[in-house]
Structure formats: C-alpha cells, structure tokens
C-alpha cells in the first residue's frame, strides 16, 4: 500500500467571483521511502497539490490519504508529526525576528517534546551548520544556510514525509548542489519519503524515482526515472519540457 495516495484531486479557488481550477482530477501514489517528483511550469498546479496535502488549499473534489487514512480537517498535530514541508524561498519562510534557536524549538514546544537543547544542537549538526549559528537571526545567514535551517525545522518532529516545494530554485548552482546532497543524505539516513516540486528537470531527475509532468492543473504523463534519461516520453508536452531543459543546452 502506498504511503501517500491522492485520488482524483481537484482544487478550485475563487478569484474575482470566478472559479479558478488550479488542480483538475490529479491522481498519484507515492510508496514508502520513495522520492516522487512533480514537474511543470508556473501555474501548472504542482505546488497547489503540496498545499492541498497540508490543508492550505481549498480541495473541491477527490481524496488524499496518508498511510491509508483520510486526513482530518483541520489537519491537527498527528499530521504535522508525519508530514512537513520545506518552502521555496528561504528569505520568506523563516520568521525574521526569531532566532534560529526559537524557530527550531517552537515545534518541540507545541508538541510537548522535551530535551529541547540537545535536539536543537543535534538538528543544526545534522544539516551541517555550526552550533554557533544557534542564536543568530535569519538575516545573518546566507540563502543556502537559511534553507538548511528550514530543512532542520521541518525535521524537528521527525516526520516520515517531506514535501519539498522548489527547495533549491532560489539558490546558486553550487549551493544547490550542497542542498541536494544534504537532502539525499537525510533521506537515506532517516528513510524519508519525498514529494518534490521543481521546474528543473535535471534536479528532479537527480532526486526522484518517479516523475509526474503537469500542465494547466492536469497530469500529463507519469515517467519512471529511466524513461526520462532515455527521452522516452510519450506526450508532446513532456518532450518540449525535456527539450527546453537547461541541461540539454550544452549538448546541442
């Protein structure tokens, strides 16, 4: 049985009195310890799926199940112990007036988990930040360091599932490499399940076992990693996405 099961999911927003169908009947299943990628251009609904899982988007149809269980509304504490999210922009996702220590210890306080000191120190160590960063503020950190803090925060409650919304697209190429390496190491060490969104096919290919290509809120094509590398996609849209990938540019 798959860990994350999304069946015929639809999300509809209302903008200026008119309905906007952000996600239209998307189904997918992610197995335990699998890494699953969602690719598509802006507005294709890939981030909205992650937000719908967290209860941050108005679901208008379909079901989401985690470990076979439908999700409660509102999501509640048990959910946040299982599922955590890392956002795209590390400049916007950390509280600017909270120290790193406060950001990392807040989930522990909410869930009544003790040993705060030891856990915060260990969390920093796990993501490769020196312990001296503990009492700094986000503005004293670089973009890559902030994203490490965001990853540490997501892992404080030891979730099984990490939702990654373009975790490296705000970072430089070299910092991106370090962050991707960190994520892969943590996944192997902790047996995490990843659901990752990116518009960069090369990043998705490096990180994920299976890929779903999306366009206009709909699923276009699901591909295993091997099919992507072999350029064996069936639909024209997936082909064009592959052709536009920056990775291809050096070969032409």
């Amino acid at each position: 049985m798959a860990l994350i099961e999304i069946d015929n999911l639809s999300v509809t927003f209302t903008a200026k009195g008119r309905p906007v169908h952000a996600v239209r009947g998307v189904s997918l299943a992610v197995g335990e310890r699998e890494s699953y990628g969602l690719v598509g251009e802006s507005g294709s609904g890939k981030s909205t799926i992650l937000r719908a899982i967290c209860g941050l988007a108005p679901v208008s149809g379909g079901t989401i199940r985690i470990g076979g269980q439908p999700l409660p509304e509102p999501r509640g504490r048990a959910f946040s112990r299982q599922v955590q999210m890392v956002f795209q922009d590390p400049y916007a996702s950390l509280h600017p007036r909270h120290t790193i220590d406060r950001t990392l210890s807040e989930p522990l306080a909410i869930h009544g988990i003790g040993e705060t000191d030891a856990r915060v120190v260990r969390a920093l160590e796990d993501v490769g930040l020196p312990a001296s960063f503990r009492f700094r503020f986000p503005h004293q950190l670089s973009g890559g360091q902030r994203q490490r803090v965001a990853i540490a925060r997501a892992l404080m409650l030891e979730p099984k599932i990490l939702l990654l919304d373009e975790p490296t697209s705000a970072l430089d190429a070299s910092v991106q490499a370090e962050t991707l390496n960190l994520l892969n190491r943590l996944r192997a060490e902790r047996g995490l399940t990843f659901l990752m969104v990116s518009h960069d096919l090369a990043v998705i290919d490096h990180m994920c076992d299976r890929i779903l290509v999306m366009q206009h809120g709909q699923a276009v094509e699901e591909l295993p990693r091997e099919a992507l590398a072999a350029a064996a996609m069936k639909t024209a849209y997936a082909q064009s996405l592959f052709a536009a990938s920056a990775d291809r540019m050096l070969e032409s």
Binding site: S174, N181, S245, A246, L250
Partner: protein, 276 residues
Amino acid sequence: MTLLSVQNLRVSFDTEAGLVEAVRGVSFSLGRERLGIVGESGSGKTQTGRAVLRLIRPPGRIEADRMDFDGQNLMTASEREMRALRGRRIAMVMQDPKYSLNPVMKVGAQLMEGLRQRDRLGRAEAHAKAVAALDAVQIRDPERVMEAYPHELSGGMGQRVMIAMMLIPDPDLLIADEPTSALDVTVQAEVLSILDGLVRTRGMGLIFISHDLRLVARFCDRVLVMFKGRVVEELAARDLMQARHPYTQGLLNCLPRIGGPRVPLPALDRNAEWAR
C-alpha cells in the same frame, strides 16, 4: 571595433564592518558581440555591470585605469553626459520584473514615459511605438498589456515588457542582469530566443550576467568567469567544456544532469590555492 573597454575596474564599499571590495581589478573589452559574465552570488558580476553605467552610489566607489564606451571616457563623464548615455546608448535589463517596474503605473504609461520625455514624441506616436516594441518581444495582445498594471502580468510577460522598454531607444549596448532567473525553464527559453533575435538583428553588444553557466554557454560568444571580484577565466563559450580553471570546472560539475549518476554532486572547493 571595440564598443566598450574596461581596464582594472575596482568597486569598493565602505561599510561599518570595514572596506568591502566587490570588484577587484576586472578588465575586458567588448565589440558588437555577446559577452557572458558568470559567477556565484557575491562574485561581483552585477556590480561590474552597474559600474559600466556608473550606477553605484556613495559610499560605493568606482575606480578604473580606463573605462571607455565608443570613444567616450566613462570615468570622467559628467552626470549630465552619463544621463545622455543611460537608456539611449547603454541599457540595462534588471533581474526581477516584480521589483523593477513601477507597481502603480500602467505598463503603457511606463513604456511611453521615456518616449514622451526624452524623445518629445506626441501621445499617439509614443503609443504606436510602445505597441510596436511589445510586438517585437512577441506579446500577442499588446493593447491589453498596455492597459495592464505590472501585477496583472506573469513573470515572463513582465520580463518581456522590461526588454521592450530597454530596446525602444535602440541602444548600442545592452546589459542584461540575470534577465531570466526569475522565470520558468520553458518561458526562459522563449525570452532568451527573443533577446537573441533582437541582439542579432540590431547588431547590439550584449553583456549577459548570470549564475547559470549552461545558459551562458548556449547564449554567448565569450564568457568571463568571476570569483570574489576577480575574473578567474576567460574563454570562448564553445570551449566551456574544456575549461581549465578548477572553479569553472566546479561550477560545471555541480549541476545535476538528466540521466547522470546518483552520487553526491561534487561541491566547490573554496579553500583551494586559487581562491585566495
């Protein structure tokens, strides 16, 4: 023919934490060709671009042994002479349309502002020219975009509007500072091909600033690789895969590739001898 020549350019800032040298002795010359400047955040690539237009405010300082544009010395030019150059002869496309367009002014009014003020055109003529400029960057419904506010446009549309705006005065040199890094891959390819076509047909010089080495390799004739304010390597874009400098190689290798091996990506060694 050399359009721009820069020798030993230095940009420094006096900050509370002491002197910060953002650019430390950069030299290059540019004809009517496409030059790429690549580097990580903080390598000084943007400051190099801004220094050419003297867009660095005190306490920032620009020093250079020489900085000539088309026979004119940019270091000794008066503010008035610089203003005559900016926009008209040297234009700059900024990174993010969200922050670079005026949020409370319609796109059309922004496009027409320069034409009306600088070129003293009448309203109808300015409107026609602005629509033509939007057309040139392949905006399908220019009349609608003219009436839109920047927040009503997508990132790709906003970036095209900025390119259109910069190209209206037909500059000789275009400085594009990460013009596509806020965009999606598919839109990115589209905007780049528009920019490429315009540069070719108008015979402009182009300085293309980016942190994406692959993009620059595809798009430029020549590449400068910058690290900590210095140029560490200069090479023809087609020879990029044969780059010799370890920093350039590091930048190339740290990018994941489709179908590449599932091993940790090589990280850059910033403590090597050359990094000092």
